[in-house]
């Protein structure tokens, strides 16, 4: 199984670890407890043997007596039935026994030099006990002490037996709590990363100055963040060089044109002067369009930006009107009258619609009307009464440097490709068709701003 999230990866490993621990830890504790309990029991058995040995006395005639106090006798009595003892001499003969028939408790006792812990069955009971070597008056005895395991009145045994149902389960909630704490810790540790990714989302070609925050960033992730920021530095540099290039190119191209234009303005011969002015105007237009193309190459609409399409079209109509009137044509703005807000950059939209309107004015006969129609749904149409666009040319007219009449100078065939690039940058669409009554109709569709 593969996890995409570092948190879920760590947490799943923790769940496995905690599951393992919650089984092993109670088992280990149980084992420790029961071995401690066994030790305690063994010690208790040894204490019993020591006590019995203390009451083992030799008489002047060389025989041995065992004078247990009344309290102890009761404890070992068969009636009470919990404890028993037997004292064996070096030959294995039973000298004293708590059993009535003076029998050994553990008949199979091997009488080792070290205390031996033994178990035997006596009737229905399991008898647990020990054979302890004792030295009394220079003689060796083996004192067998026993305890009936069926009668659990021993505290230690109870604790061990109750460990699972009473105590063992508490480890599980503790481990679960640890898991929750883990999750919280990871969330907190990864918070700066989450913040950085929020910041990264705002970075775009229009916002190259944004950098990811490095403060509070975990040291393990810091190298990645730094590397990303350095990559952004290089990208910004690239964008800047591109922008500087267009600015420098504009300066280098337009300044000589200005010199030329100013010189021509001072010429005496009005015929030559006007002809040269027209040439310079054509040249200037081509330079402007080239620079537009270069600038639009890296142009991206700021997602925050909004434009009032109606206002942009009104500005275009006002801008084109003097030119149209000078050529004996008119321009009108029709359609909706209120603002039409779309997502977009007003300056480039102005250029796009201006190019379409200029084209229409330049390609239509005198006395005709060019109409800019704005619809509330974000569609702008530029309608003219010219010859229209033949079906076969409706694709190619948007290509760079396409011209129907290549003999005409002063036009590089860039106008419509600029329009189409601007529309593309706005995620809009452009189409052209011929009107039923003749003339071309260019339609631009844009997304309305919320």
């Amino acid at each position: 199984m593969r996890f995409k999230s570092i948190t879920s990866r760590i947490i799943s490993l923790h769940v496995i670890a905690i599951g393992f621990t919650s089984i092993c830890m109670p088992l280990a504790l149980y084992w420790l407890l029961s071995s401690t309990a066994t030790d305690l029991q063994h010690r208790a058995l040894r204490d019993h043997a020591d006590t019995i040995a203390r009451y083992l006395k030799t008489t002047p005639d060389g025989t041995w007596t065992l004078q247990l106090p009344a309290g102890l006798q009761e404890l070992y009595s068969e009636a009470y039935g919990r404890y028993g003892y037997a004292v064996l001499d070096g030959q294995g003969a039973v000298l004293f026994s708590s059993l009535d028939n003076r029998a050994p408790i553990f008949p199979a006792d091997s009488r080792a030099a070290q205390p031996a812990f033994l178990q035997t069955r006596l009737g229905n009971s399991v008898i647990d006990g020990a054979s302890i070597p004792e030295q009394v008056g220079g003689r060796s005895f083996w004192i067998q002490v026993a305890q009936d395991l069926e009668h659990r009145d021993v505290l230690i045994d109870d604790i061990v037996a109750d460990f699972f149902p009473r105590v063992g389960w508490i480890t599980i909630p503790i481990l679960l709590l640890l898991l929750v704490i883990d999750i919280v810790i990871f969330r907190r540790a990864l918070f700066p990363v989450w913040q950085a990714s929020k910041t990264a989302q705002t970075i775009g070609p229009t916002r190259t100055e944004v950098r990811l925050p490095t403060e509070a960033m975990p040291r393990e992730i810091l190298p990645l963040v730094r590397a990303v920021n350095e990559a952004l530095d290089r990208l910004e540099q690239g964008f800047r060089i591109q922008r500087e290039f267009t600015a420098d190119a504009a300066h280098e191209l337009r300044t000589p044109l200005t010199v030329l234009r100013t010189r021509v303005d001072t010429l005496e011969n009005p015929m030559v002067r006007e002809a040269l002015r027209d040439d310079i105007a054509g040249m200037s237009r081509i330079v402007s369009q080239m620079l537009d193309i270069a600038e639009l190459e890296s142009f991206v609409v700021d997602p925050e930006e909004k434009a009032d399409l109606h206002n942009v079209c009104a500005e275009v109509a006002a801008f084109i009107a003097p030119l149209a009137l000078a050529q004996g044509k008119t321009i009108a703005l029709t359609g909706t009258r209120g603002p039409v807000w779309i997502k977009g950059n007003p300056e480039t939209l102005f250029r796009a619609i201006r190019n379409l309107a200029e084209n229409a004015i330049n390609h239509t006969p005198e006395g005709t009307l060019v109409e800019i129609d704005v619809a509330e749904n974000g569609i702008v149409r530029v309608l003219d009464d010219g010859p229209g666009i033949p079906e076969s040319e409706r694709e190619v007219i948007f290509r760079r440097f396409w011209r129907r009449d290549r003999r005409r100078s002063g036009s590089a065939g860039l106008g419509l490709s600029i329009v189409s690039r601007i529309v593309e940058a706005h995620a809009g669409s452009i189409s052209v068709e011929n009107r039923a009554e003749g003339g071309a109709a260019f339609s631009l569709r844009f997304a309305r701003a919320a």
Binding site: A250, H251, V259, A317, L325, L333, T334, E347
Partner: protein, 226 residues
């Protein structure tokens, strides 16, 4: 009238100097941002013509320095950049006007003249379009030197059109000018005044035309009789 021309292209600088001199100005020419700062610190100019692309620094920084010193000398910016953001930046930095290269020399002279009379001067000037003259001080309109009589509202409409002759005046602007921002003079009130103006001017033999740019506004221009 002393002007400072800041232009790094020597040829263009010289042409501008000659042209402005023959247009009646005294033009000092510098070629670098450094020289421009020195000149502006020591001399008072009536107006400054500033090219933005300079070899030793951005022209805009010269402009910003000037404005930081609270110097209100009118500045006309010449720029080769016509990019999306540059125009806005230029005007925000305190330029009074700008011209994109290449420009017609008459246009430059007209813009400088406009800058020079912009502040203070309460527009005691005559507006001329074709054979129509409008004396804004005496509130009198002449066609071929013959005084004509118009109502105050008609004069107001004619004045705003003649002040922007050759350019479109938004219908909304005319309405605001006539009735103030708040009141609504009725949607076709302006059209009525325009209609009357057209008829009266035509009757008086005026060589001007008031064009209606449908959906946008009006434009007055020199023109043959309708």
């Amino acid at each position: 009238m002393r002007l400072l021309v800041i232009e790094d292209n020597l040829e263009l600088a010289e042409l501008l100097r000659k042209g402005l001199n023959s247009a009646g100005f005294v033009a000092d020419v510098v070629n670098t941002a450094g020289d421009a700062r020195t000149a502006l610190a020591t001399t008072r100019f009536a107006a400054v013509v500033l090219d933005l692309g300079l070899p030793d620094g951005d022209g805009l920084s010269v402009l910003r320095d000037l404005r930081e010193r609270k110097d209100t000398t009118p500045v006309l910016v010449l720029t080769a950049r016509s990019g999306v953001r540059e125009r806005v930046t230029g005007l925000r930095s305190g330029a009074d006007d700008y011209l994109v290269k290449p420009f017609a020399f008459e246009e430059l002279v007209a813009r400088i003249q406009a800058l020079l009379r912009r502040p203070g001067d309460l527009l005691g000037q005559a507006l001329n379009v074709g054979n129509v003259a409008f004396d804004t001080e005496a509130r009198q309109v002449f066609v071929d030197q013959q005084p004509q009589f118009f109502s105050a509202r008609e004069m107001a409409v004619l004045e705003i059109l003649m002040r922007r002759s050759g350019r479109v005046v938004a219908k909304k602007l005319v309405e605001d000018h006539l009735f103030g921002l708040s009141s609504d003079g009725g949607s076709n009130a302006v059209e009525v005044y325009i209609h009357r103006l057209r008829r009266q001017l035509a009757d008086a033999g005026a060589q001007v035309q008031i064009h209606t740019i449908r959906g946008v506004g009006y434009l007055i221009a020199e023109g043959k009789e309708p």
